[in-house]
Symmetry: C2
């Protein structure tokens, strides 16, 4: 696997994940996530550990975001080795008349030939 | 290099960085950072790109944090491959009577045998 090959694999997984978020497709959102994922989300709680807690963060998000709203990767840089990778992205989401940007970092590990997301960190700058 | 060997190298770099932050030691803070680092910090701006912009984020921080204040790694998990790694941490900082937790993700790349930090993402949950 070349470095660009690994980068392309990771990019495909992240683009499919974002597309699943746009469609409120839980199975697609969770398709490449590790059981022990650690999620740092934009709203509280401070952290969510494990796939069940991660899934609940999307209950909250889908409650205030319609399937037609934006969840777009505006800019992404992927750093991928043989079996560890991370992605740094600027994202845009929200209703057409009220979109906003957030920062996103994703960590991945390759296990038995497949990449799994083990960490997501979503945030906006603090306003206080 | 075993996986645990790489993890230990990355842990040593991050612990030395946090110690340099506590001492307001700019040279130590910047010692293992890539020229093209992308910083997502707790306060605005939304992002800081490049080592000069990264250094400025510490001007802001050191202006309101004394050398005796906390900048402590409360919990850290490191995922390290041969030449790509990331760390996920719960941090605590601030004056003794007003410490607070923040979330930290660090991305690293190994170049010519040395690890360099190419990304930091510091945040607190949004309060709005």
């Amino acid at each position: 696997m070349t470095q660009s090959g690994a980068e392309n694999q990771v990019r495909t997984i992240i683009e499919a994940w974002a597309d699943a978020v746009r469609r409120h497709d839980y199975a697609g959102v969770l398709a490449h996530h590790d059981q022990d994922i650690v999620m740092f989300d934009v709203p509280p709680p401070f952290q969510s550990r494990g796939l069940d807690a991660y899934r609940k963060t999307w209950d909250l998000f889908f409650g205030c975001q319609r399937p037609s709203d934006a969840f777009d990767i505006e800019d992404i840089a992927i750093t991928a080795g043989d079996d560890v990778a991370f992605a740094v992205a600027v994202m845009r989401c929200g209703a057409p008349d009220a979109t906003f940007q957030f920062r996103l970092t994703i960590g991945l590990r390759k296990v038995d030939g497949d990449w799994f997301i083990t960490h997501e960190h979503h945030s906006v700058p603090a306003t206080e």
